[in-house]
């Protein structure tokens, strides 16, 4: 086994894992608070990739030359609009089903996912879209004996630091603000939280907004890194991010990030050393295996159902 390839695959895996982790946060928060899988979350991420490309093209067209300024503006606009999409999905498709049976919101979520994919396909066309490479250059990573074991592009450094920063911000919000405390209370017991004067509808909407905002960060970063996307990217990435959330323990924020990194590393090493054709099969097999062996994940608590 070549040290260079291992090093490079580990670096790629960490970057991939940071992205999975960011998207997994949206799944894990919604699942924690509502006990439901938000199937449309992968498509929210897809929407954010399109929004980022559109805003970037608009800003370039308007004559913004500086890359950092453009990136910050694009990030802000993408987060704003993606969060808006997240809020609308919750308001239109999930809120009316708050008290219906278990199956209804899941089917409604599938419907939303189909709507978002086909809305984008119709309005933006089915072909691949892309953005130009904005950040050029890389640094070499050397082992102690001076042998190069891999290279890290500046975009990858940006991805990992942005992921860490936004996860840190989210963790701080959840731990130290009134909003975060209300979220945790709603997650523990929605009825009790409501009795204590927390507007749970408002909290659930906020959770969707925060999840969508994290997906927006991921969407922008992925677009920067890979440069190309289409209307269907949300599907596979969505399942993988959900796998990451389950792997880390659904409902747990650090778990989502940990699960993302582990899944990203595994997938990257698998496609580097075993087979690229079957890397998706591998990821889905991991999902089934985790659910069979340890459904509560690495950091989660086993679910106890009360009557």
């Amino acid at each position: 086994m070549n040290g260079y390839i291992v090093g490079q695959q580990v670096i790629n895996g960490l970057v991939l894992g940071a992205i999975y982790g960011l998207i997994a946060v949206g799944y894990t928060m919604v699942y924690g608070i509502m006990g439901m899988i938000n199937f449309a979350h992968g498509d929210i991420y897809m929407i954010s990739a399109y929004l980022a490309a559109i805003f970037l093209a608009l800003l370039t067209g308007a004559g913004v030359q500086s890359v950092p300024v453009a990136l910050v503006l694009v990030l802000a606009l993408t987060i704003l609009f993606t969060a808006f999409y997240g809020w609308t999905v919750e308001r239109v498709a999930y809120r009316p089903l708050r008290n219906s049976n278990r199956l209804a919101p899941l089917i409604s979520a599938i419907g939303v996912s189909l709507i978002l994919q086909n809305y984008v396909r119709i309005s933006q066309g089915a072909r691949n879209q892309g953005i130009p490479a904005l950040i050029e250059g890389h640094v070499r990573v050397n082992a102690a004996d001076g042998v190069t074991i891999g290279q890290v592009t500046y975009t990858q450094i940006l991805i990992v630091s942005a992921a860490l920063l936004s996860m840190g911000a989210l963790a701080w919000i959840m731990r130290h603000t009134t909003l975060g405390r209300s979220c945790r209370a709603t997650q523990q017991d929605r009825v009790m939280a409501e009795l204590l004067g927390i507007n749970t509808d408002h909290i659930i909407a906020t959770v969707f907004i925060m999840g969508a905002a994290m997906a927006a960060v991921a969407g922008l970063l992925v677009t920067l890194n890979y440069g190309s996307f289409d209307f269907f990217i949300g599907f596979v990435v969505g399942i993988k991010a959900f796998t990451a959330a389950v792997l880390g323990g659904i409902g747990s924020l650090p778990g989502a990030m940990l699960g993302g990194v582990i899944l990203g590393l595994c997938e990257s090493l698998f496609s580097g050393f075993v087979n690229t054709d079957y890397k998706d099969v591998f990821a889905f097999a991991v999902l089934i295996l985790v659910l069979v062996v340890r459904p509560s994940g690495l950091l989660g608590h086993p679910e106890v159902e009360k009557v």
């Binding site: 219906s100 049976n101 809305y119």
Partner: protein
Amino acid sequence: MSIAASLKHAARWGGLTLLLSLPLSGWMLNGYQVTTTWHRPLWLAGGVFVGTLLAMALARLLEMPPLRKLRWRMQTKITVTRRPALPAWEWGVLLTIAATLPLWLSTYWLNVMILALIYAVLGLGLNIVVGLAGLLDLGYVAFYAVGAYGYALGSQYLGLGFWTALPFCALLAATFGTVLGFPVLRMRGDYLAIVTLGFGEIIRLLLNNGTEITGGPNGLPAPAPTLFGLELTRVAGQGGTPWHTFFNVTYNPNLRAVVIYMVLLAFLALLFFCVGRLQRMPIGRAWEALREDEIACRSLGINHVTVKLSAFAMGAAIGGIGGVFFAAAQGFVNPTSFTFFESALILAVVVLGGLGSSGGVVVAALVINILHELLREFSDYRVLVFGMAMVVMMIWRPRGLLSMRRQFFAVGKNL
């Protein structure tokens, strides 16, 4: 609501749509540039505004006394009745009409009808899993693929014929369903949805990448069915005698489609009857009870794993049979027929027909397929409309458009 309030409400949703759709529809990506298309968000917002107004007007209209009574009668409710939904002679008439269709339908429409009936079969199978047992299976297409490829591969490597393939592929798909379902069905219901989704993709990727065995993206040929050992093709390909040579008649290229249609129709009728009976058997009651309250059922001694597994395996077996019919009708299988869209489509059939209502599912399968053929030029919008319909149905009428009747058995007076 007063007119002013309604206008305000509609304007709010219209404004929201305008804002939301502005970046995604207002500009179109074109290479690294964008083309401005501001008319599109304006049209969308206008549509939402008018649509909201119309919906509110309709709701207002339905509140009026003469219509209120009608609405009450239209409302989905479970009717308990001694009469079956359709008397036997009506069934006879329906089936006779369906059986005479090949006499006057063109080849094209006959193939459309075959596809519609395949969807009806798949819908009934998925309806057992989703509608009756309440297990959301998003990878139903995997079992469909197992059936179709089971037939194509079986005929190629094992020399299986159509009639042997039917039970064989049903068994094969049921085995897949059991192996997948056994570990997953013990857990919370929602996980099943995502696991089946992943499983559906695994099957498709394996079929797509296993080029040596499955032919990869190029697919495999599937032979035409035989009838009492006689082949329905122009030239015998499976070592038998062609039908037209045996009876000394001119070759009819429609024969293959007609035979598949008739067998499929017979199977659908049988399946419909069996599902109706199953619903009234202890196992069917257990499915529905588990769907409503799992904890209560377990406390009453129902083994939730085996009961769920039976529904899951039965749905899988029916999916497998649907796959055999599909492969035989197309004469060819490849992985593009088994994407997630297909699963979503079958789910849409079940949801629009009404979860748990067999008649509704069959009607929905027929309507969706025939409408799709009639509205070919709008096919871009088809999946979009399905998605909207799924959301609207869940909010407005989760039990389907047609009301469900449930027969009961009463002890007669003279007993």
